[in-house]
Symmetry: C2
Subunit: 203 residues, 2 copies
């Protein structure tokens, strides 16, 4: 599992094959089936291992939920393959449950029936936001490693598309509105959600 994470960190998720993992461990491929039942199980183990790095901290439900979100995002920045896996299968491994336990424990002052929807909503937002962010980051990297070539490559396409006049409102926003960086976008969306939660649970 550690070997698989090593491979995924270095060359992405598609670089993880049972043969390569076995090679890293200096073992024959079929040996791995003594420990895992399938490749999917290996991926599940990788995700659970990543959850070990997600330790929400803070006082009060809002701080803890914000911490959970930031920690998850941070983990996905260190292990971009997490963005591909998060939310793809139910997470019931020990480390994932431990994260959940820490969060739920910190929500002691919240109505019991409200806890699950609140945590589910924050998790959903984080999963989606991280996926979008990593996807964009990869697309930028694919078009030449720096932002200049990215704009040079995307710009013309969008220019042409907007020039057709089929997306006037979109064109206006893209051209006129200030563009926030990834950090701000993530935090603003998270604030929307936490504000909404606060309004409802204190009702």
């Amino acid at each position: 599992m550690r070997a698989a994470i090593q491979l995924a960190d270095a060359d992405g998720l598609e670089a993880v094959s049972l043969r390569k993992v076995a090679t890293v461990l200096d073992v024959r491929p079929m040996r791995l089936y003594g420990y895992i039942a399938s490749k999917e199980e290996l991926l599940d183990l990788m995700v659970d291992a990543a959850h070990a790095e997600i330790r929400p901290v803070g006082d009060g439900w809002r701080e803890v939920l914000r911490s959970l979100a930031e920690a998850t995002r941070h983990a996905a920045h260190e292990h971009e393959w997490l963005a591909d896996l998060l939310g793809g299968r139910p997470q019931l491994g020990p480390h994932a449950l431990a994260s959940g336990e820490a969060v739920v424990a910190a929500l002691g002052d919240v109505d019991v029936d409200a806890i699950m929807p609140v945590v589910a909503a924050v998790n959903a937002y984080v999963i989606g936001a991280v996926r979008r962010e990593i996807a964009e980051r990869r697309a930028e990297r694919a078009t030449g490693m720096d932002e200049k070539r990215w704009q040079a490559s995307l710009g013309p396409y969008l220019e042409r598309t907007f020039a057709t006049g089929r997306f006037p409102a979109l064109a206006t926003v893209v051209r006129d509105a200030v563009h926030l960086d990834a950090d701000h976008t993530f935090r603003i969306g998270l604030d929307f959600l936490l504000d909404g939660i606060e309004a409802r649970i204190s009702r």
Copy 2:
């Protein structure tokens, strides 16, 4: 592309191979490369085609955003493979842009600089919520097609895990709190988010 969607609807995303698509079309595999550059491009086309079914409607920003969310979720229910692809790559195809245009156009009464973060936040929530929901649905289906066997298979594992006493808060919530169905969970999270947005943009 339509052939690929047919295959994915029937047997899931991993059933989509260029050979099978070519067979459906009664064509030799390499012929496909006259229309697409790679399999990834085919997947992008599938996602954009799915966006054609996502047409937000309604009056006012809140109704339109809710409609966008529900329509996306509905599309993912009809095409479960969407859950695997959504958010995985930037969506710049014509139908995806058309969805964006419809949404942005309906947000005319919102401050220009607020539009992008708001739409991004709603999209992020929807992507994550849909992924989680579909993942759970698949897990249920994998353990015997009906809810009874699902609980019979998951229950013992969770019982055993909670019996260790390592996750007391989690155990309490899972045992004592009312369990919402997928529809309610989705809508409650969406309401949190829209409430939070409303509070900020009318400030």
